[in-house]
Symmetry: C2
């Protein structure tokens, strides 16, 4: 998606440790106009699928998931990190390791909000090693629901997650795949894609 790649080039900054900071428009401050263009593009990519629900994970996935859901006219469910007393005990659970925060989270979805009849589009802002996405796929499978597709805003293509998950047959589309980036020169190279 050229608009997104242009924005990453313009406003993204590369930091040591393979960190791409896009917090001016994606995951701290949010450019809602750009999110709308992203939502329309996800609709185009998955328009042949009969999506009944969008699943994401808190926190920064919620923005793009909710804006995208407007184009599918379906509810969003966001998986929660760690147990909350406001949730019923009756939940699907999995564990996700965060490299950003250097810890392992319990991640849960109430059984009320994923059912075997659901055809789920998983949406998230970032894909790198794939741990979060594998956890979300696990939650959908635990519910007996169907993963119709996965839509990612930015994939770090030089990490293994995206290609490994594609190899399992998951219908995964990333709007911008970063082939390489350099924290000294600031250069960001994208993989050619749809």
């Amino acid at each position: 998606m050229q608009l997104l790649k242009d924005r990453i080039k313009k406003d993204g900054t590369v930091k040591a440790g393979n960190v791409l900071k896009v917090d001016s428009f994606l995951n701290h401050q949010i450019d809602v106009g750009l999110m709308n263009e992203i939502g329309k593009e996800f609709r185009r990519l998955f328009e042949d699928r009969n999506i009944t629900k969008i699943l994401t994970i808190e926190a920064s996935g919620i923005a793009v998931a909710c804006i995208t859901a407007q184009y599918f006219k379906v509810p969003v469910v966001f998986a929660k990190k760690a147990q909350s007393i406001n949730l019923d005990g009756d939940s699907y659970t999995t564990k996700i390791e965060s490299f950003t925060h250097k810890k392992i989270y319990d991640v849960i979805v109430s059984k009320k909000y994923l059912s075997p009849n659901d055809h789920v589009l998983i949406i998230d802002d970032f894909l790198a090693n794939g741990c979060a996405l594998i956890g979300l796929i696990d939650l959908v499978k635990a519910a007996g629901a169907t993963v119709e597709g996965v839509g990612i805003v930015i994939e770090k293509g030089f990490q293994k997650g995206g290609d490994e998950i594609r190899a399992t047959g998951v219908n995964l589309h990333s709007l911008a795949v970063i082939e390489s980036m350099n924290d000294v020169t600031g250069e960001i190279v994208f993989r050619d894609s749809e």
Copy 2:
């Protein structure tokens, strides 16, 4: 807002300990159509203010803030709980006590995304004791920005937060104010409001 009150009566459940569960449409599963009606209502309530930015706090405030931002055509900034290595050290910080999770969070906003020129609408899903909201107001003041208003989806009017913050002169509107609720009968009584 009658549509919201009707939905709370229909799908909300009252639990012991003054807990109102609305996770079927507001803070776990999200009814994006309802969020749009809420966004339009916030626009109506604050249309006389020259809003430049919407501020919320992760996680469940992000959905309503982003949908609402579409009606103001401004960016959203969400305050983050606890330090992330993906954020610059150059942040405004405050502390917020969560009664739901029984702990105190450090809450931060990057100095890049709140400036003295900003006219801020604070949006959140819940207001009870007011700790989170006072923290967000502190962050805006720390930036030298102006709090133009506060929009809350559901206020627990039987807790002190909302009335105390109104008493300080903050332009605070809650779309549904719960005057009382009973976890034995399930009854929910709303305060009459705009």
